[in-house]
């Protein structure tokens, strides 16, 4: 417990069996290219069903900025392309084939800043970057006011990014140097200070280390950004995971984008927990096949707090949660239902639990009240532009809101975007 907010936060506990010590590399038999969570994207497919693709080969691009490409996480052939009405990407499923065809990119491009952007966009790194305010990947020509690299993750059951970065210090330095060229502002590396002091020396004066605590939500990107360099409508802030930064460094060094990342499988419906090195869009069913306990279960991509039920691992997620399926509750008497629920729901009571659920980073009760009342201007003054749903996931869970808080935040961000954004 520290002072001045460094010890703020909570340590929510979700039961999970102990982890097996081995970390395997797993390339699943099927994989899918999915859009990042939350945003509908108009895409134009670049391949047809049945085409062969190499790992890292482009399979689709954004319809309105074709330089941003979605790439295949594994080598194989395209099994199906599912687009929703309006050419919104749903999923592009790829069946694995033997062979190690890997797409090579021309790293000579990256000598100029524009070339670096083009390389990131065509190699598939771009969709691992997320911008704030409003979330989603940045537009092709956006210049951020700051970039935050997350080398800490405090979500319950998250893998430790330090393990993922073991032996990749050189790539990380290259990646950080490349990120520093994309912005005129600072590049912040958020890491836990209490595990090992041997954090690799940062490459240049632009990158700064920010020490974060170990309780959630101190390792949540939005809370870090709110603390270090708040995002504004005219001042977007990007965030990127440290492992993806190292992947960017490896892309610049070798011309090939490494797809595997450290993913932790945890949850109460498992026989034993696992950490695996796998790729985005991995098939959750295959990854959990022999370790799930008998009985009904739910497979979620992401943490128990902010994950969603899914078949494929979402692009930025590094956690798989397997929860027992809750039995359907029998219908209740109308009077009992009236006593504990109503159409408007009960308001949040400002307690210490609420303050800590937001990491004591902002005045919690006025912020939650502004959200509930739809008061955009107060919420913007209190820092809503730095936050996304995942940053409020802990508060939503702690207050037992069942997703209302996240929905209120998203609705308010959408309104702000419609009213204030250029």
């Amino acid at each position: 417990m520290g002072f001045l907010g460094t010890g703020a936060g909570l340590a929510p506990h979700f039961p999970s069996p102990p982890d097996s010590p081995d970390v395997f590399d797993v390339i699943t038999e099927e994989a899918a290219v999915c859009p990042p969570v939350g945003r509908a994207l108009h895409v134009a497919p670049l391949v047809q069903e049945g085409d062969r693709v190499s790992q890292g080969g482009a399979v689709a691009c954004l319809r309105h900025s074709p330089e941003i490409k979605f790439v295949a996480p594994i080598a194989g052939h395209v099994a199906s392309i599912v687009l929703l009405p309006g050419r919104h990407l749903s999923e592009i499923v790829i069946y694995r084939e033997d062979g190690d065809a890997v797409e090579r990119h021309d790293t000579e491009l990256a000598h100029s800043v524009a070339g670096l952007r083009r390389l990131m966009q065509s190699a598939g790194v771009w969709q691992w970057v997320r911008r704030r305010p409003f979330g989603g990947m940045p537009s092709a020509d956006e210049t951020p006011a700051a970039i935050v690299v997350m080398a800490t993750d405090t979500r319950p059951g998250a893998p430790d990014p330090r393990h993922a970065l073991d032996g990749r210090e050189e790539d990380l330095s290259l990646g950080l140097a490349a990120l520093a060229r994309l912005t005129d502002g600072p590049v912040m590396v958020c890491a836990q200070g209490d595990r090992s002091p041997s954090w690799p020396a940062l490459p240049n004066g632009r990158a700064r280390l920010a020490v974060r605590g170990r309780r959630h939500p101190q390792g949540s990107a939005g809370i870090c950004i709110h603390h270090l360099c708040p995002a504004g409508i005219e001042a977007p802030v990007w965030d990127l995971h440290a492992e993806d930064t190292a992947a960017l460094g490896a892309l610049l060094r070798t011309g090939m984008l490494p797809m595997t990342r450290l993913v932790r499988i945890a949850g109460a419906a498992l026989i034993e927990g696992h950490s695996v090195r796998t790729h985005p869009g991995a098939d959750l069913r295959q990854l959990t096949r022999r370790i799930v306990a008998p009985g009904q279960h739910v497979l979620m991509s992401g943490s128990p707090l902010d994950g969603h039920v899914a078949r494929w691992l979402a692009p930025r997620h590094r956690q798989i949660t397997v929860m027992p399926r809750a039995p359907a509750r029998p219908g209740r008497h109308w009077l009992v239902a009236a006593l504990d629920t109503s159409t408007r729901g009960a308001p949040a009571i400002p307690t210490a639990a609420l303050t800590q659920a937001l990491g004591a980073a902002l005045p919690a009760a006025p912020f939650i009240r502004a959200l509930g009342a739809g008061d955009e201007e107060t919420a913007m003054r209190l820092g809503i532009l730095s936050l996304l749903e995942e940053d409020l996931a802990l508060a939503d869970y702690v207050l037992s809101e069942g997703g209302h808080l996240k929905a209120q935040l998203r609705a308010m961000l959408d309104r702000i975007q419609a009213e204030f954004a250029p």
Binding site: S342, R344, A346, P350, A365, S400
Partner: protein, 260 residues
């Protein structure tokens, strides 16, 4: 969907648990009469919660018991059933339920009830507290602070001012005891007190200062009357103090980051 614990009813239950020492000591010293007052208050508050559930689909809350306890402990004595019912109804309906129930109100319904009864029927005597009852406010405050449901900064702010005034000889002992009970019962409500850290310190300090001012300058006022009046004014000032604290916080962030 997994859910946590800290919804409105959990907080109300924890507040009830915190008030338990106070309530038990008060009932033990007050006997049957105290029990009858508490019963009447609970009945009236519960009926109004039920009316608002049926008429406005507003979920009732266990905070009704907290309101009833505060009114029963602090209301003037010998009012009779009719006046008590009138006062409680006014406070609970106009102070809490018309705003949408506990959590959306701006003043504590018990404070409104007590002020109404005090100003409406000034001929009736205010209650006094035996020492053990008043001392039981300390464990109540400790439980509240340990579980995080009572604002610790507010209690600390009031305690600092109270201690300073006692050392200076400005606070007679009966006023100190009554002010302590009213602080825990009326002002430490997490909903209607200030919500920012600085606002809470100021809110508590303001309450303490008002108690000192009234006890020195309000001739003929009973100790509980002084405490209730101070609690009403302090809780009315809470939004203002919060706004000031937020303005300072936002200005500091603007200075540091150039934007909020």
């Amino acid at each position: 969907m997994i859910r946590g614990l800290w919804n409105r009813e959990t907080v109300a239950l924890l507040l009830l648990a915190a008030y338990l020492p106070l309530a038990l000591f008060w009932l033990r010293h007050g006997g049957t009469e105290a029990l009858a007052r508490l019963g009447l208050a609970v009945l009236v508050v519960a009926i109004w919660h039920l009316v608002f559930m049926l008429a406005r689909a507003q979920a009732p809350s266990l905070s009704a018991l907290i309101t009833a306890l505060a009114i029963a402990m602090l209301a003037p004595e010998g009012l009779g059933v009719f006046r008590m019912t009138l006062g409680i109804s006014f406070g609970v309906v106009m102070g809490e339920l018309v705003f949408g129930g506990w959590g959306r109100n701006v003043v504590n319904p018990a404070t409104v009830s007590l002020s109404f009864l005090g100003f409406g029927f000034p001929a009736f005597a205010w209650p006094g507290f035996d020492d053990p009852v008043a001392w039981a406010a300390i464990p109540a405050a400790l439980i509240g602070m340990a579980t995080g449901i009572m604002p610790a900064a507010l209690l600390a702010g009031a305690a600092v001012v109270g201690a300073a005034a006692s050392l200076a000889g400005l606070l007679p002992e009966p006023v100190l005891l009554a002010a302590g009970v009213a602080l825990v019962l009326l002002l430490a409500d997490p909903v209607t007190s200030a919500t920012t850290a600085l606002g809470r310190w100021l809110n508590g300090a303001l309450y303490g200062a008002l108690v000192v001012l009234f006890s020195a300058g309000w001739t003929g006022a009973a100790p509980v009357q002084v405490a209730v009046a101070a609690a009403l004014l302090a809780s009315l000032a809470a939004p203002l103090l919060d706004d000031a604290a937020l303005a300072l916080w936002i200005a500091a962030r603007k200075r540091r980051h150039g934007r909020t």
